[in-house]
Amino acid sequence: MRFVQEFRDPALGRALAGEILASVEPGRTYKLMEVCGGHTHSIYRYGIDGMLPDEVELVHGPGCPVCVLPMGRVDDGIALAHEPNVIFTCFGDMMRVPGSNGSLLEAKAQGADVRMVYSPLDALAIARRNPDREVVFFAIGFETTAPSTALTLRRAKAEGIANFSCMSNHVTIVPPLRALLDSPGLEIDGFIGPGHVCTVVGARPFGFIPAEHGRPFVISGFEPLDVLQSIGMLLAQIAQGRCEVENQYARVVPWEGNARALEVMAEVFELRPHFEWRGLGFISQSALKLSDAYAELDAELRFGVPGVRVADPKACQCGEVLKGAIKPWECKVFGTACTPERPIGTCMVSPEGACAAYYTYGRYARERGISV
């Protein structure tokens, strides 16, 4: 695959790892947070953490949209799926996310018409083919997927497809980063920035991290050489006493982002006053709901949802994992009561979840007592 294999070259990876080792200052440690779940997946899949010196520790951030969705929103979605005459559509990784009384997959087994889609456009196509049914799209994701939902809603409105609606669970990445940075005792020395989010929002929204919090931020691609180079760039900033936003992923990410995407998002969405994040609690202006101009396509208004707040299972420590406070394997139920086949927490469901990524790629090496 073009533009992929070039960034997986083992020899170049070893060379970058050597540069990282050489830039480590004796006697100090570095804790770097990878914000995006896609990076977590790459780090475990390619054994990147095993290529780093002991002084460099990677911590997982809140950038997995499935993982941060609170249980109450899952319950709201399941309630919508059970509405008469509804075809409920969602991305595949939502299907097994546990609510307080089962998952969407279990709702489907009980008779609800729940369908997995690849994109919101697929959901709209289902609405066109089923004009006598109500088709609800359960939208999740950060600024990477919100433009797709927005474009689909714009199409639905333009075509007058009245039997289509959307339950928006879209979230934005900057507010939880602010919340993390404002939390006491945070020991993060730098951030591996979410490359795909930045294709939409650009680099500027992250300028507050070096400016107000004194931490470097490097926008990173997702292949192993991207991640290793980004780690090297963070260590170089620290060594040189610099603190700024840098763009390692310049082959894809324009500094200003994608103006068209921002425009359609601003047209279709508006910020919610507050939204609950799993593990992080309520964060102001951190999520998107449909704007007044698109209210007729808002499933929450069309059907009403219970909106009940549900506490996470006590055994589950997803919240601590999402804040980088513990590693996946330090959770009490990791790999025993909670596995990808029978997940208790969201971090074990999505491939981008830290627990699922570690369970899939990292645990074998750890069990064998060798570096990953």
């Binding site: 073009r2 992929v4 690849y118 919101p120 994701g141 433009p147 294709t199 894809v252 994608n258």
Partner: protein, 52 residues
């Protein structure tokens, strides 16, 4: 994904994903999408070109 064909009028393109499956992709967020280009696609929408 690699663009196989693009239709500016509809804002849609047919692309080949990493597993060589054909996908219809929304391209309204990019200008001048052409066959052969490599696109970064999320949830069926092209967000950027890969200019590597």
């Amino acid at each position: 994904m690699v663009v196989l064909s693009a239709d500016a009028a509809t804002g849609l393109a047919v692309c080949l994903d990493g597993e060589r499956r054909r996908r219809t992709v929304e391209t309204a967020l990019l200008e001048d999408v052409r066959p052969g280009q490599t696109l970064l696609v999320h949830a069926g929408t092209a967000l950027a070109r890969d200019a590597a």
